[in-house]
């Protein structure tokens, strides 16, 4: 198995800077193996480029095990790659056949300007979190374990939504460049736990306003939930409107 070598044609987006013109560059990798991840395929390419004295392709990654959300690029036009609900670092060369062309592109959305090559600026998502994706608690000595009661089921449901790793694939998958899955996941998570309920309405108002500032509307296309490596379920998009409509009936912060 392991010594099976694959020949892949890589089309890679190269862009020198935010304002520079981008273009696709074509390279050939002759010694790819099926168990390589797609990021390792890019590593392989970069080794080759360095040997040839060419600038390596800039792309982001960190944990390479699907927990940090740093990796993120379009593979043949699909965020993260051909497998549903798997981050780029967990996608493998075995999805392709020897001789295939694999096209690497940065995430594409108006809110994600390209910084260099495959790296985009995803701080628009950070600004949504800054607008209200936080809770106010006394940091200091840890409280007694049972002062805030959360049932097991509620905790589990909140954790399902808390699983978002902030990668931005939902935006890159959406024909409207919407960040509903991301924002809805955060709103749903914080609306379920006591710490978050204090500022539930205020949070909905400010996060939705910030989201609309840079991202698009949701038209229920459903691509986001297929791309999401954290398996955030599609009802998260309905949570955005549920929370915002609810906040419309509230004067107070909760």
């Amino acid at each position: 198995m392991t010594d099976e070598k694959m020949r892949l044609i890589l089309e890679v987006w190269r862009q020198d800077g935010p304002r520079a013109e981008g273009r696709f560059e074509t390279h050939e990798i002759t010694d790819a193996t099926p168990e390589m991840s797609l990021l390792e395929l890019l590593d392989r390419l970069n080794h080759k480029l360095v040997e040839e004295d060419v600038d390596p392709v800039a792309f982001e990654s960190d944990c390479r095990e699907g927990i940090c959300g740093t990796c993120g690029l379009d593979v043949n036009g699909v965020p993260h790659g051909p497998e549903d609900n798997v981050p780029a670092c967990g996608q493998h060369v075995r999805s392709f056949k020897s001789g295939d062309t694999v096209r690497f592109e940065p995430f594409r959305a108006k809110a994600f300007p390209v910084i260099r090559d495959l790296i985009v600026d995803r701080t628009g998502l950070d600004r949504i979190i800054q607008a209200g994706g936080t809770i106010a608690v006394d940091a200091g000595t840890a409280p007694d374990a049972d002062t805030l009661q959360v049932t097991h089921d509620e905790a589990e449901r909140a954790l399902d939504f808390a699983g978002c790793i902030g990668c931005g694939a939902c935006v890159a998958a959406c024909p409207n460049g919407a960040a509903y899955l991301f924002t809805g996941a955060k709103l749903a998570h914080l609306a379920l736990i006591p710490h978050g309920k204090q500022e539930r309405a205020k949070r909905a108002r400010s996060m939705v306003a910030q989201m609309e500032h840079e991202f698009g509307p949701c038209s229920q296309i459903g691509e986001c939930a297929l791309a999401c490596p954290a398996d955030i379920p599609l009802p998260a998009i309905a949570v955005v409107n549920r929370e915002r409509i609810r906040a419309g009936f509230k004067r107070k912060a909760n």
Partner: protein, 262 residues
């Protein structure tokens, strides 16, 4: 992450654009537009089902012409004598027209905002048929809008596109005395023109597409997150779309094939 990013060549030293988080979002806010879409869309769905129930009177076994015309007459005088004459009819029309203006305005705004937020990039299709239908809502919607104009000119006003035999005069005599417009005859005459019949059938298919995605959207836009509610809406979307297309499109087909005659 650092905000100062320089480029390889050094020729382009511009840091990545930072948008201030403090400027207000575009007005009216998108979530408001979506709630308006869902509310007005629901009104249209209710209206379509009501309208269909009336249309299906052409299939009543004995004297459909009488039943159909009596129904048209009943509609005109609804809530008499509480509201005089055709007051209710005009309130009804006014409300629908208002919904239409709001629905079209919101739909266009949402579409434009979506295109802008995506930027000049294509998107590959990974998901279900809702991808295609959902992305083309604006086009199915504009076809429906054109159809509404045509339909009103054809069968309500009788100007420009009506059949040669069209009459808005009260020419049909009711058994209990008095005479009303012969809406039934106008309908049959219109559909005897085959291109018009084909046009109606095609538009009903477009309406079905719009509904199959639209009714599913309603539950999302009103914030329905419960699994059962969502499953019901997903199912109802297709069932109602099917009922509307089969029920309505069968009428021009029946006229063309001689199933419905004067």
């Amino acid at each position: 992450m650092s905000s100062e990013i320089t480029t390889r060549s050094g020729a382009d030293q511009i840091p990545v654009a930072r948008r201030p988080a403090t400027t207000p979002p575009p007005r009216p806010q998108t979530w408001v537009l979506k709630v308006i879409m869902a509310a007005t869309g629901s009104v249209f769905v209710a209206f379509l089902l009501f309208h269909l129930a009336g249309n299906l009177k052409v299939y009543l076994p004995d004297d459909p012409r009488l039943h159909f015309n009596e129904y048209a007459h009943w509609l005109r005088g609804l809530l008499n004598p509480l509201l005089p004459g055709e007051t209710f009819l005009w309130l009804f029309r006014g409300a629908l027209a208002l919904c239409l203006v709001l629905h079209v305005y919101s739909g266009l705004t949402i579409w434009v905002r979506g295109r802008r937020a995506r930027g000049h990039h294509s998107r590959s299709i990974n998901g279900t048929r809702h991808h295609l239908i959902g992305r083309t809502m604006i086009f199915s919607g504009l076809i429906i809008l054109a159809f509404i104009v045509f339909h009103l000119l054809d069968l309500t006003v009788g100007r420009g596109v009506e059949s040669r035999e069209f009459s808005s005069k009260a020419t049909f005599t009711l058994p209990e005395g008095g005479s009303v417009t012969d809406a039934y005859a106008n309908l049959v005459h219109s559909f005897e023109r085959w291109p018009v019949a084909v046009f109606y059938v095609l538009v009903m298919l477009v309406v079905a597409l719009h509904l199959s995605h639209g009714i599913w959207s309603i539950v999302n836009d009103f914030g329905g997150t419960a699994h059962r509610t969502r499953t019901v809406f997903l199912f109802l979307a297709d069932v109602i779309a099917l009922i509307v297309v089969v029920g309505n499109a069968s009428i021009p087909i029946a006229v063309l094939t001689g199933g419905i005659t004067l």
